[in-house]
Every structure is written in C-alpha cells, then in structure tokens.
Amino acid sequence: MSAVPALKIDNIGKHFGGVKVIDQLSFSVPLGARTALIGPNGAGKTTVFNLVSGVYPLDYGSIALNGADVTHVSQGERIKFGLARSFQNIRLIAHLTALENILLGQQIRAGGLRGLLYPLNVFRRNKWRDEARAALCDVGLEAYGDDMVGDLPYGVQKRIDLVRAELARPKLLLLDEPAAGLNPTETEELQAHLEGLTERGITLVVVEHDMQFINVLCEHVVVLNFGSKIAEGTPEEVRNHGAVREAYLGREEDEEAFSHAS
C-alpha cells in the first residue's frame, strides 16, 4: 500500500447552527482500494462527501487529496485534483439528453476557451461525442443517448450519473449510495463495474446502507456515528466491533438484523 493516501481527512469538524454534524473526524482512504463509509441515518456520511468535495467549508481541520492539501481549494477547482462524486439524489440535468449529461463529465478535460467553443453537435462525429457514446455503450445504454434524461427510468439515470463522474477521469471517486433503489441484477452489475474501476486505478469511497453489497465490494470500512469515527477495519472486523453493533442495534445483540441493516 502506498504511503500517500488517496484521501486524508485530518481532524475535521463542521456544525450547522448548534448541531455538530462532524466532530473531530480523521481517517484515510488507501490508494487503489474500495473503502466504505457506513453509519446509521444522520451519522454525517453525506456531509463528509460534501466537505471533501468542497460544497461546505470546514470549521476546522484539513483535507488532502493524493498528498495535496485542498482545504482552501474551492469546490469548482477540486476536480482538478482528481476528485469526482455522485449524488444520493441523482443530480442529472433533466433538460439535457443522456449523452449531453455525459459530455458535462468531460468538462475538466475539455480545456479553456477553445474547448468551450468547440463544435459538439455541428459535424456528424467528433472525439468528445464518440467517447461519450462509447462510455454509454460500455454500460449498455447506447439506446438512451438522445433521450431527455429526465424521462428515463431510475436505474438508467443512476448509471448515467456514474458514467458522467467516470468521464472526468478521477483518481478518487466518491459514490453516495450507488446501489440504492437498484434491483438484485442491477446491483450485481454495479459491483462488477466498480471492481473494473479499481482495476483501472480509481480509488473508491462508497456510502451505502446495503451491508451485503459492502461485504462483497469493500476491503476497508469506516464507521461513523454522530459525526465521529467509531470503528475502522475490514468488513469482518467492523461487523464484530462492539461500538458498531451498539450504534446500529442499541444494546440488543442481533447478528441477523445487523447483516441486513438497511
């Protein structure tokens, strides 16, 4: 494992009004691994993603991506450090087609004014559209390319959301509940797809409620409760951790219920 982690969160904190949402949180995401971020509802998982991607400023602490301190880098610049993310509530641009949404993912690679004024839709073919279409084909969505994305089924939108983030060619990809709302077949396809991403050298951080999914996919798990880390380790280690069982189940011990917690 490399000495420089893909993501290093160092003693960060965030409050909204009088509520401490994240409190003295530190953890690292090893390079090239698949890390899960889990915890009960309201534990602060999505807030961590929002802090890492710069949507909210930190109250204190620091965040580093691949060894570069990005604490004071604005949200629009962090993608340059190889960070991309997906959203729990899919955030596609409803008034654009599936293909155009994916073109948006390439924005960071398209360059300055020339990239901005490059004709995307004047000549029959160009490299950006070809690349986006190929990416749609890879996930079996070539038929939806020219449909308005707002009209598409949920599972399809979910995949488009993921492909769009991939086309930013990130080194670190934050996925907020990628399996939520998917049927078992789609979930298996997603698993295989995400494993493929790691093979291409992308580090993944996944927020997910489906423990089955995490057990299969992730080698590293960080557990949050009330904005603090209560456990960290392999899925096996975390599963048997006392504080984790307590956070999910109260004081009652029930292995069955925990392994299916959702």
Partner: protein
C-alpha cells in the same frame, strides 16, 4: 411586398436580435430586465458615431453593440452577485439609469430625441439578424451552450464538474447585452429618430416575454416568440371589421372594440403561459419541426420530379 409588410419584417428582424439579448442570460438562469437600457446605449452610441465620425453605419452598429457589451461587462461583477428577483430588480434599475442618463445628455438631444442620419432597410437588417441567429445556434451546439443549461438547472453540480459558472454567466450576460445593443442600433438606423422614452421598462418586459413564450431551451424559441409578439397585434388590428357582427354587439360603454386588442392579446399570453409554461419551442418541438420541414422538402422534391416526367 407592400411597404407595410416590409416594415413588419424589419420590426420582426430587430425583435429577434433583441430577443437573443434576453435569451442568453435566461439560458444561464438569469433574468435581465434592463434590456431596453442596453438597447438605448447601442442605439445612441451607434447614431452618435455615425452622425459625427463619418463612419459607415454598418460599422457603427457594432461599435454601439460593443458599448452595450462593455457596460454589461463592467456591471456584471457586482450585479450578478444578486440572484432571482433581486437580479431582475438590479438590472431593471440599470436600464432606468441608462435611460435617465440619456435624458440629460444635450449632446444627443436629451428629451427632444435624436435624429439619425443613415438609414437601414430590410436588405441590411435581415442579413444581420440571420448572422445573429447563426451565432447563437452555433453557441448552442458547443460546451458553452451545454454549460449554460447545466448552470441554469444545477449551478452547484456544474461547478463541481469544473464549469466556471461565474465566468460563463458574465459571458452570457455580456453577449446578451451586445445583441441588445446591436438590436437597439438597428432600431435607430431604421426609424432614424430615437427618444429616451422609446427604451422603457415595458419594452424590456416584452422582450423577456418573447423568450419565455417562445421557449428558453431552443434557438428557435426567441424567433417564435418575437414573431408572435410582432404579428399577433397586427392580426388583431382589423378584427373589429372582420367580425363586425360580433363587435357591433359590444355595448358603447366599453368603448372602441379595436382598442381592446391589447387586452385580448394580453389575455391570450396568459392562456398560452398556463397551457405551456415551458414555452412553445421546447427541444422536442424543435426536433418535430425539423422532421416536418425535412418531410415537406422530401414531398416537394418528389412532387417536382414526378411532375417533370413526360
């Protein structure tokens, strides 16, 4: 073509150019209620330079448009900090300031108005309108257009993907002001006489309505909106004569039936907006229109070739 018809086409051409002035910021999610102010600046700057510097008006209209764009660029940084209704009010105030300032400048006739020497007819104005449509249609097919739509829908998301949201909004606002200034300059050289009150808030509101009614997501939207607003009042003009049987029934206390055409027009706009809040030309409608045109062309070609057969 009668001179009445030519005149209508000129007004339509000018309205289309100005409509794009409102369309570009709206595409980026911003309402510019100061369009008339930018038009006034373009009109007066072009007229003054043409009258005094001896430059041909085909050059001075772009100088006028440039002035409008420059003003937009200067005020964009403070003004685009505001959002929604506050942005609309700030741009409204800006338009009022421009008109009020011109009202005090004796150099361009102040309240008396200003005579413009060089005249433009349809032959000059129509190509400029077509060029404007071409520029906007091109921009719509680049990342610039794509990013504007993304910004208007989800600014945060666009920003996270590396879209320079502020810069693009400033660019759209400035380019819009440029087109408004260009339209204002065309207006000056068509009517050959301009007054500060020609560029009032009512005009700004009408231009916003062109775009909202026509559609904000298609390059055809402003054209359709401008066409409706240009032609519909004209169609209503003779309505009382055509339907005299009906209009003779209108009781006297309601006044002249023909004077009601603007009320009818306004009521129709409200009905339109209720039935189709997304505007007439959505992207789906644009595609359907393109298919229909293609079909007509094929039919026409077929009819001709079969007709040519011996």
């Amino acid at each position: 073509m009668t001179s009445y018809q030519t005149g209508l086409l000129v007004i339509l051409s000018i309205n289309i150019v100005i409509a794009y002035g409102a369309y570009l910021p709206i595409a980026a999610g911003q309402m510019n209620l100061g369009i008339a102010g930018f038009m006034a600046l373009g009109a007066y700057a072009s007229a003054y330079v043409a009258n005094n510097a001896g430059l041909p008006p085909i050059v001075t209209i772009f100088i006028g448009a440039g002035f409008a764009g420059l003003l937009a660029l200067i005020v964009a940084v403070p003004i685009l900090r505001t959002r929604g209704i506050y942005l609309a009010l700030a741009t409204f105030a800006l338009g009022q300031i421009v008109a009020a300032a011109i009202l005090n400048v004796e150099l361009v006739g102040a309240a008396e108005g200003y005579s413009v020497l060089d005249h433009f007819g349809l032959a000059t104005i129509a190509p400029i309108t077509i060029a404007t449509i071409a520029v906007v249609a091109y921009l719509n097919r680049t990342r610039f257009g794509l990013n504007l739509t993304a910004i208007s829908q989800d600014e945060l998301l666009a920003n996270l993907f590396g879209v320079r949201t502020r810069r693009l909004q400033i660019a759209a606002f400035t380019l819009g002001a440029f087109f408004a200034g260009l339209g204002g300059a065309l207006h000056a050289h068509y009517y050959n006489y301009i007054r500060p009150q020609d560029f009032n808030i009512l005009l700004s509101i009408y231009i916003i309505l062109f775009v909202l009614l026509g559609g904000t997501r298609s390059v055809l939207g402003p054209i359709v909106g401008a066409a409706i607003f240009t032609f519909l009042p004209e169609i209503f003009r003779d309505l009382d004569k055509k339907f005299s049987a009906f209009f003779d029934q209108v009781p006297d206390w309601l006044g002249q039936a023909s004077a009601w055409r603007f009320a009818i027009f306004a009521a129709l706009i409200i009905v339109f907006m209720m039935l189709r809040p997304q505007g007439i030309m959505t992207r789906g409608a644009t595609r359907a229109a393109a298919r229909w045109v293609a079909w007509c062309v094929r039919r026409l070609g077929f009819a001709r070739s079969s007709g040519a057969r011996p």
